[in-house]
């Protein structure tokens, strides 16, 4: 794969818990980016959101991190990063992206002498199609942040079921402007297993085997995660992005 742009895929999210579906995103995205002939995927990062995000049913980040690590133990290219979850307050996606981008560049420069700008790995945000619709939610995203996430970095978006990311792009001037920076990956397998469904099944004592790795299922049982109680956590809390006022970047 000589002459290709090295690429790292970053997935931000709750991972509450991580499932096979999340891990499929990476596999699908890697295949797709390789098939463009332009990229060589050199790494993947799972970055679970911090507890201050305030989403309903979000269990402690130490658990979500542990489960993600268990799930990705056998992966030779995707790893888990706890920087985002260790920050004091909820951290905007663009801030997380800047952190990883700078970290990757620094790592690269320290190992090369002299460094070639074109060989520094690029970073793109990996997400599902439902993520594209979040750009529309009032006050959830700052415009300048969306501009930077999509325009400076780029998105790799994996479609799922009947969700149409094309439409989300079409309905947004900002996204349409950066159409070239958005890679749409089609998931042909009709698979709607989500973390929400997994939590529901667990609450009802139903089996989730084959939806997540056995090691994660064992962890969930050992720590008795995902009960009626855990699901109502943050019920009356407002999602942090909606309340946070960032004065400076």
């Amino acid at each position: 794969m000589a002459g290709r742009i090295p690429l790292v895929l970053l997935a931000c999210g709750s991972f509450n818990p991580i499932t096979h579906q999340h891990m499929r995103l990476f596999e699908l995205a890697r295949d797709h980016m390789h098939q463009t002939g332009l990229y060589r995927v050199v790494g993947g990062i799972v970055s679970p959101v911090g507890d201050d995000y305030g989403k309903q049913g979000l269990v402690a980040s130490k658990h979500r991190l542990a489960m993600a690590r268990l799930a990705l133990q056998s992966s030779d290219w995707v790893s888990v990063d706890d920087w985002e979850s260790q920050q004091e307050d909820w951290t905007e996606t663009v801030v997380t992206m800047r952190y990883h981008n700078d970290r990757i560049a620094a790592q690269y420069h320290s190992s090369k002498d002299p460094p070639t700008v074109s060989d520094v790995p690029q970073l793109k945000l990996l997400c599902g199609a439902d993520f594209m619709d979040t750009f529309k939610v009032p006050d959830l995203w700052r415009d300048d942040h969306v501009e930077e996430v999509v325009g400076r970095f780029g998105l790799v978006c994996v479609s799922r079921g009947s969700l149409q990311p094309d439409r989300a792009i079409h309905e947004s001037d900002l996204l349409s402007r950066h159409r070239q920076r958005i890679f749409l990956v089609r998931e042909w397998v009709h698979n709607e297993i989500s973390a929400t469904e997994v939590r529901r099944a667990l609450r009802r004592g139903q089996s989730v085997k084959y939806l997540l790795p056995d090691s994660v299922i064992d962890y969930i049982r050992e720590h008795n995660l995902y009960t009626q109680d855990s699901e109502i956590k943050n019920k009356d809390v407002k999602l942090r992005p909606l309340t946070k006022q960032t004065i400076q970047d």
Binding site: M23, E27, S74, V189, N191, E192, I193, S194, S207, Y210
Partner: protein, 281 residues
């Protein structure tokens, strides 16, 4: 209801398993949850019975590989096992015969256990011996059905709605086989969200007659990892990781299974049941 009063159930899934996927395995879990949730059943065992090469389905790779992949996939399961009897037969075996065979195995096992408990002289005809008797012995004739002891597990065919609907395809099933499977045994059928399984049962007299033996397991969340899709992805060098258990993915890579070539296998052959039933008409 105490554990003793619940009816024991064994779930049997027949199919190509070409290859086995997480979806096949999920079917067992969903069916078990559904049956046990009624409070009337206790699912004690799951059996995967891959079809023999004689089925002649297009793209069907050798049974030895399909068996091994199924075994690798069930290593981590404490209740689902693989049975190679069907795939070892030289010619294709009707599903009804496989069901009868498995039923006999279950009965033998139950009798063996109860004889042991009674300290009787046990007729230790081992499964292996019976296996070598071949496919056309009396065990495969429906008239040889012996009424099981009271606590012998009930055998249910586990399948997707597409199998139930295939009962309507001409020359694919013998009517008496359908009657036997749903009438004498039972079916646990996984239905897709959005489909209307009751309608299909209603439209078929034989299914309607035995509707009490047909358990419709609603799959509320779509999970359609088809083996066809998996084979297509493999042909194109795409990843199938997390669609099948890791050991199965590794096995496929090690043996370079599923290529454009393997997909052409049996391209000119006639599916065994169609061959058999049209020629005997």
């Amino acid at each position: 209801m105490s554990s003793q009063e619940k009816t024991k159930v064994v779930l049997l899934a027949c199919g190509s398993f070409n290859p086995i996927t997480n979806m096949h395995l999920r079917m067992f879990e969903l069916a078990r949850d559904h049956l046990e949730d009624t409070g009337r059943y206790r699912v004690v065992k799951g059996i995967i019975s891959p079809v023999g090469d004689g089925y002649k389905k297009k793209g069907l790779i050798e049974a030895c590989h399909r068996l091994e992949m199924a075994r690798l996939a069930t290593l981590n399961s404490d209740w689902i096992t693989v049975d190679d009897w069907e795939s070892q037969q030289l010619e294709w075996v009707e599903t009804a015969k496989v069901v009868r065979w498995e039923h006999l195995e279950i009965m033998h096992h139950a009798e063996h256990i109860s004889s042991e408990n009674n300290n009787d002289e046990v007729d230790t005809v081992r499964c292996g011996k019976r296996r070598k008797l071949g496919q056309n012995t009396i065990i495969c004739q429906s008239s040889s059905y012996i009424n099981p002891k009271e606590d012998t597990p009930h055998l249910n065919l586990l399948c997707g709605a597409d199998v139930l609907e295939s009962f309507g395809v001409p020359n694919l099933w013998k009517p008496e086989d359908i009657e036997e499977i749903v009438g004498r045994y039972g079916v646990a059928c996984i239905t897709r969200y959005g489909s209307d399984p009751e309608k299909f049962i209603n439209q078929s007299d034989v299914l309607y007659k035995h509707r009490k033996n047909i358990h419709m397991v609603r799959e509320w969340v779509t999970n359609e990892i088809s083996a066809t899709h998996v084979r297509r992805a493999l042909r194109r060098g795409q990843s199938v990781r997390y669609l099948l258990p890791d050991p199965v993915v590794r096995y496929i890579q090690e043996h370079s299974l599923y290529s454009a070539e393997s997909e052409q296998k049996n391209a000119d052959a006639v599916l065994a049941p169609l061959q058999r039933y049209t020629s005997t008409n």
